[in-house]
């Protein structure tokens, strides 16, 4: 099975999010980018499928800060082909633009399956997977937490609210939005990543960004009511005493 995994990067929320002087976007020079967590799960799911059923895995990543680390880590996990998509990302890239960036490679490579993270917390215009499926006119299933290939079809487990899951069958080729891989993304030792850096080459593809379909933001701001909670003062002992009284007053202790 030929699997393509288009991934994206999101601002690391551990860092302070700085809004730039325009007031409508994050300061591009203060963002620390990291691989989108659901995309990490998509890579893992692709590698699991390759290990169990054979095939090849290609990971496609836009040229954001950290792209080499992410791609080499994917190579160390077992990805066969690593592709960096180069464009002018300084102003960021909305989800429609990212989907269009991946589209020609998918059309050219004709994979059986495209696995991608079902969501990214910085996205404001949908998810890459369903957009790609629409552009390709392929079937799409999102919120997937289990995948098993069959004969020109794939069996998937889709999550619904309330812990309910559905077992679906989708004809190939198809796009799946991965919520969680069947096992958590594996840890790869840095020594293995270094080894891949010596033996594996990252291919570069130049492309243009077309943001049509996304929407413009006129203001980005911290949420209102940021001080709504009454903050409990004092050291651990003092706060624990206050919490005991609160829980007793609520009748749960």
């Amino acid at each position: 099975m030929k699997i393509l995994v288009p991934v994206q990067f999101v601002p690391d929320l551990v860092e302070e999010l700085v809004i730039d002087a325009s007031g409508d976007r994050l300061d591009p020079y203060s963002i620390r980018w990291k691989l989108n967590e659901c995309d990490d799960h998509a890579i893992e799911q692709a590698i699991l499928l390759k290990e169990k059923y054979g095939g090849t895995v290609s990971v496609l990543a836009p040229d954001f800060e950290g792209v080499e680390d992410a791609l080499y880590a994917a190579g160390a996990k077992g990805a066969d082909r690593l592709v960096r998509l180069c464009a002018d990302f300084e102003g960021g890239a909305n989800t429609h633009a990212l989907a269009r960036l991946f589209l020609p490679l998918i059309q050219q490579e004709k994979p059986d399956l495209v696995l991608t993270g079902v969501q990214a917390y910085s996205s404001m215009d949908g998810n890459v997977g369903s957009l790609l499926a629409g552009m390709l006119d392929w079937p799409y299933v999102g919120y997937v937490s289990g995948v098993k290939p069959g004969d020109r079809k794939v069996w998937v487990r889709k999550d619904f609210p309330g812990g309910l899951t559905a077992e679906l069958e989708a004809q190939l080729p198809a796009v799946l939005g991965i919520q969680a891989a069947e096992t958590p993304p594996r840890y790869v030792p840095i020594s293995k990543v270094r080894q891949v850096m010596k033996t594996c080459k990252i291919e570069e593809v130049n492309a243009d960004l077309d943001p049509a379909g996304g929407v413009a933001t006129r203001e980005l701001r911290p949420p209102e009511g940021a001080t709504r909670a009454t903050m409990l003062d004092g050291d651990v002992e003092a706060v624990a005493d206050q919490l005991v009284e609160i829980l007793r007053a609520q009748g749960v202790l």
């Binding site: 619904f160 958590p184 909670a229 749960v252």
Partner: protein
């Protein structure tokens, strides 16, 4: 294009999801005089589900293959309806159903898409969306384009009662399209397995998020829950690590809970988690990040480290019970 608003009704196993009423409430607030609110209901023997929808008209498509959600069929039907009605706005839930459909439709019809929207309000002749982004740490605001726009909505912006009506709407049946070529088929639903405890019926939930850092730190949380007489539950990242079973998952693709007290430990407060806990009588948040969005929802909060606080709180709770 007219000024009508089209709402995709979400139903799972014969029950209309609350997000449908949230979207209808939004549509009612926004619709100008003369504009229609149209709901698209898809199902099989499901016309009765239209009874309390606060819409001017319900377009109902009935077919055995549409008894349950099928993303491909929904996307095709919605795209056809948008093309025919040319509404100003198309609302879908930012859910495991709506998010599967919205992108596909946006791409096929080349329509703009806004996701994760909390509210839309009128400002002069413009419609302005407000969407939480980056795990709720920021809010984005912008003007919807002056063309048919697809929007996925999160819960929380409106009360569901505002989207219900005692007056049944007018229902128009639509001929179902040919559905024998669907490339996605539902095989079966699977109920949650290993349901050790039903977290939706517990008065005190001790919830743990990414701040727990390591699996062995869960012992401290379990000890606290035992001391308080509570039940441990978790956010998506903790369950994805297989540190707790799916039956303990609270959030968009997990359970919605309404306990007397929700003690959130190391939880940042991402929208997909918060939407499932807003019915809690009291939320207490413990998070070292003073600007974590969970503090916008919590009644009480502290920035102490949960690993420092939990053992001390457990000890004091045990002492209270002995007294």
């Amino acid at each position: 294009m007219n000024q009508d608003i089209l709402v995709l009704v979400e139903q799972v196993r014969g029950q209309v999801a609350d997000i449908t009423y949230t979207m209808l409430a939004q549509a009612r607030q926004l619709a100008s005089a003369g504009a229609k609110i149209v709901a698209l209901l898809i199902g099989n023997d499901a016309e009765a589900l239209s009874q309390d929808l606060a819409a001017d008209e319900v377009l109902y498509v009935d077919h055995p293959a549409l008894k349950e959600f099928n993303g491909e069929a929904y996307a095709h039907l919605l795209a056809e309806t948008i093309t025919r009605l040319a509404p100003r706005l198309v609302l879908l839930g930012d859910t495991t159903i709506g998010a599967d459909v919205a992108g596909w439709v946006s791409a096929r019809l080349e329509l703009p898409l806004v996701s994760c929207c909390r509210t839309i309000h009128a400002e002069g002749g413009d419609w302005v969306f407000v969407s939480p982004v980056c795990g709720g740490k920021l809010v984005a605001e912008g003007v919807l384009p002056a063309q048919t726009t697809v929007v996925t909505m999160q819960p929380g912006g409106f009360r569901t009662e505002q989207g219900r009506s005692a007056q049944p709407p007018h229902v128009a049946r639509l001929e179902p399209p040919a559905l024998d070529g669907l490339r996605i088929t539902l095989k079966q639903y699977t109920e949650p397995q290993g349901e050790d405890v039903d977290i939706t019926h517990q008065p005190l939930l001790v919830a743990v998020g990414r701040g727990i850092e390591r699996q062995d730190n869960l012992d401290v949380v379990q000890e606290l829950a035992d001391a308080l007489g509570g039940t441990v539950c978790a956010t998506r990242p903790v369950v994805d690590q297989n540190w707790l079973p799916t039956s303990r998952l609270v959030g968009k693709s997990g359970k919605t809970v309404k306990p007397t007290v929700y003690l959130a430990l190391g939880i940042s407060g991402a929208p997909e988690h918060c939407e499932a806990i807003t019915g809690s009588e009291m939320i207490i948040a413990v998070n070292t990040d003073p600007v974590a969005p969970i503090f916008n929802l919590a009644r009480y909060g502290t920035t102490l480290d949960l690993l420092d606080l939990a053992p001390v709180l457990a000890e004091k709770a045990r002492a209270v019970k002995v007294r």
